[in-house]
Symmetry: C2
Subunit: 139 residues, 2 copies
């Protein structure tokens, strides 16, 4: 994937407050800021090939809209789901999950924070390398 | 523009309950339905060249994320704003506005409903043809 296929700006690498919860290089451009009166923050998140975030929980939920490249989403207790442009993931409040790029592809998604007043993400343990690497056999 | 450049499904023509408030052919694919527990409905809206909606107000506000083609957005009392892929429009609750395609281009945007519990859009008068046609001089 050409990372420029997403129409949205890639932005800068994640600030350290977030990047400690990610493995590999990830970029963030806030399209609707946290302090917008509309109270639905939206970020364009771009994962370099092989990068991903740690397991985490959004107390108010989140919506992912995949825009470019290939990636993965997994909710605890469910099979990993391969994401391609146009795919939608509704993540209900309290659901433990992770997401990121495929090993050999950039991946971009919009991250739409729902119920933002419920508070920030709760970050948990990393996804083990062997678990992530085994996903590619599921292409 | 090739209308397929948006990664999201185009969907069907608007149902009549909406299309009476639009001039020209417009298509809608709901990506996150109105009844989602996340309470942030999201639609992919695709305007055929020259199509647009009437002036209207969202009691809870709306966010537009332009994904493909060229279009227009105008809030009452403000200059029309030409929209291209990657552009973001935050529409605060109660702001009277309209949006649509450029005369010679398809246009797609995501429409994200904020404050959905405030109620449905209030539809108002059409944009006069001469006002819309004059916009192209502003390219």
């Amino acid at each position: 994937m050409d990372k420029q296929l997403s129409p949205f700006e890639r932005g800068d690498k994640l600030p350290e407050v977030f990047s400690v919860h990610f493995d590999g290089d990830t970029y963030l451009s806030m399209l609707v800021p946290d302090n917008s009166p509309l109270k639905v923050p939206i970020g364009n998140v771009t994962f370099a090939p092989g990068s991903k975030n740690h397991w985490h929980i959004h107390p108010g939920g989140q919506i992912l809209l995949a825009t470019a490249g290939c990636g993965w989403y997994q909710a605890e207790g469910e099979s990993p789901r391969r994401l391609k442009p146009g795919d939608v993931v509704e993540i209900l409040p309290g659901v433990k999950h992770w997401h990121g790029a495929a090993q050999n592809s950039w991946f971009s998604h919009l991250a739409i924070e729902t119920g933002a007043s419920a508070g920030p993400a709760q970050w948990l343990e990393p996804v083990p390398d062997e678990v992530y690497q085994a996903l590619e056999g599921q292409r």
